[in-house]
Amino acid sequence: MSCDQFNQWAGAYLDGELSEADRRRFEQHLATCEVCRREVADLRNLTEDLDMMRFKEPGDEELARYWSGVYNRLERSFGWILLSVGAILTLCYGAFRAIEELIRDPTVSVILKVGVCALIAGLVVLFVSLLRERLVVRKVDRYAKEIER
């Protein structure tokens, strides 16, 4: 193996992630190679610094603001669900009554009635197709799997 290939192992060596056999091979190489020894020493400085990095815990005031932001969103999301359900029901009912009246109206031409019926049927078919696709995608969706964990 060349120094370049051994170099790829340097990080895993410092992380204690090399197998016993690879670790021994790597150490044998280190014993004879000044360049790789220097590389490991430099990398050790970097990984030690990285390992020491932690995020500061926010103060009480910041945490209160943070929680209040999350809480407001939780409440709002419930409001959005109610609003959406209400809007869908109202629109569906309104559309149903309007179409019913249109179909019963003898002054409206048959072509327009057929056109409106085709439009509605098309919308229903598209909606069902999209819904089915969404449900199929959900089964193989990586994000959905993570949610199930």
Binding site: D49, M52, R54
Partner: protein
């Protein structure tokens, strides 16, 4: 697994929003910091981390309360950040240079514990890396995951974890001017 956390999660699953507050408070700092690293800048990080908590709450009934909360939350957060990065790349409304401002700017409370000039420089260097490098540095050094755990979290082979981490560290050394060249 912390039994108090499991008990809190069970209360959340029963619909008690108050039980979610200690969980959010416990992980808020880590979550906002992780979002800053994943997004490469403090812009949006607080918002992304809060959105991830909201999404976690929405799906909390499907979560196994006997498992630790943070790894599950972290997977949700990573997905949200990936989506935001994709959107940002499409819109290109936030220039990258702007994103590399100080992590404490933009009203974001993210800061490093035991801050030294070198660590601050290191943190800013991390933010300039490619998203996949930032992600693996976050998982290894901030979250302390093993290669096996990272492979599971990222759904990649352990060999890929090793080489990605190697390249991420090399890129970091180049940014810091410590690559020996």
């Amino acid at each position: 697994m912390d039994s108090t956390e499991a008990a809190l999660i069970r209360r959340c699953q029963a619909g008690e929003k108050e039980a979610f507050e200690p969980i959010v408070r416990k992980y808020a700092g880590r979550a906002a910091g992780a979002a800053t690293v994943l997004l490469g800048c403090p812009h949006d990080a607080l918002d992304a981390s809060q959105e991830a908590f909201v999404r976690a709450w929405r799906h909390i009934r499907r979560f196994n309360a006997d498992r630790p909360f943070y790894p599950w939350y972290s997977a949700i957060l990573r997905n949200i950040c990936r989506t935001r990065l994709r959107r940002r790349a499409r819109r290109r409304t936030v220039p990258l240079a702007e994103g590399h401002a100080s992590p404490s700017s933009d009203g974001n409370p993210v800061a490093l514990a035991e801050q030294t000039e070198r660590r601050q420089r290191l943190f800013e260097a991390i933010l300039t890396l490619k998203p996949e490098f930032r992600e693996i540095i976050l998982l290894k050094h901030f979250h302390g995951l093993s290669y096996k755990e990272m492979a599971e979290a990222l759904e990649i082979p352990i060999g890929t974890v090793m080489s990605r981490l190697h390249h991420a560290r090399q890129a970091l050394r180049e940014v810091l001017g410590e690559d020996g060249s």
